[in-house]
């Protein structure tokens, strides 16, 4: 059993489907102590993601394109993995103006957001006003989500 949470690429056959190529499936190497069952809020978040994927072009009245379905799928994989840690608060789920998906957690002086920018890349931002801390970074598919989970946990502990 791994001691970190990861998103793992899995190569699958796509048969005659025209887009071909790779399919990415999130799997979890469960960390020590992880309950391994998704948080109760995951189905709600998944419904929100499907609603985001269905947004029509121009949905923001300023000509925004429809979100990229591949990015929404990547966001679903990421949040699915994060939810398996258990006992984490439900995120706010939003599209981003750039066509990505953003998850936000906020409690008291602490705030964390992770923005899925592309099929395999996300950037995150953490702020704690009480400690005057601000940190940011990037995470790519296949890498550990340990930092993301740690920041969400920090926000949760401010409640």
């Amino acid at each position: 059993m791994s001691d970190q949470l990861t998103i793992t690429e899995r190569l699958t056959e796509r048969g005659e489907r025209p887009e071909g190529g790779l399919e990415y499936t999130a799997t979890v190497d469960r960390p020590f102590g992880c309950v391994g069952r998704p948080c109760d809020w995951l189905p709600r978040v998944e419904r929100q993601l499907r609603a985001i994927a269905a947004l029509a072009p121009g949905w923001d009245s300023h000509g925004a394109p429809s979100p990229d379905g591949r990015v929404v799928d990547a966001a679903e994989r990421l949040i699915g993995c994060v939810s398996e840690v258990g006992a984490l608060p439900e995120p706010y789920v939003n599209p981003t103006p750039g066509g990505g998906v953003q998850f936000e957690w906020e409690s008291g002086p602490r705030y964390f957001e992770v923005e899925v920018l592309a099929e395999r890349a996300a950037q995150y931002f953490y702020r704690d006003d009480a400690l005057r801390i601000e940190e940011q970074g990037e995470v790519f598919e296949g890498e550990s989500l340990g930092d993301v989970v740690a920041y969400v946990s920090r926000v949760a502990s401010a409640s």
Binding site: D60, S61, H62, A64, P65, Y92, N94, P95, T96, P97, G98, G99, Q102, E104, E106, Y111, E113, E115, Q123, F125, R127, D128, D129, R132, I133, E134, Q136
Partner: protein, 128 residues
């Protein structure tokens, strides 16, 4: 219409639709409200001295139920991140006859506002 420089004490309006992803009831404004769309050079705001709140809200691009948040240009320019480091934001007049009072908040890098800047702007701008 005016493209004269914007004084520090000028009040700026930012339009916020009252629904996700801009706003989560009952009172939470998302950082989405302060992020740039693809192709934007800066974040659109309106100058109180040049255009009324009613006119900003009645613009055809305004979604029904939108409201305004406000801050002064000086507050934007002096904004720092949580650590106190300056964000070096600029406020530039870009209004024309078709969009009077329009101005933009721009980051040090044209066409880019950091997550830190969006978060700081979210905390700064207050509901009218």
């Amino acid at each position: 219409m005016s493209d004269r420089p914007i004084a520090d004490d000028e009040v700026l309006y930012r339009r916020v639709p009252s629904k996700p992803p801009w706003f989560q009831p009952p009172d939470r404004i998302s950082s989405y409200t302060f992020k740039l769309r693809k192709g934007d050079l800066g974040l659109s705001v309106y100058r109180k001295q040049e255009v009324s709140a009613e006119a900003v809200l009645s613009d055809p691009r305004s979604l029904p139920g939108s409201f305004l948040v406000q801050a002064t240009a000086g507050e934007v320019r002096s904004l720092g991140n949580a650590k106190g480091d300056p964000l070096n934001l600029r406020v530039i007049a870009v209004g024309d006859e078709n969009d009077p009072g329009h101005a933009e908040i721009r980051g040090p890098q044209l066409g880019k506002l950091s997550q830190s800047a969006a978060d700081a702007l979210k905390k700064l701008f207050q509901r009218l």
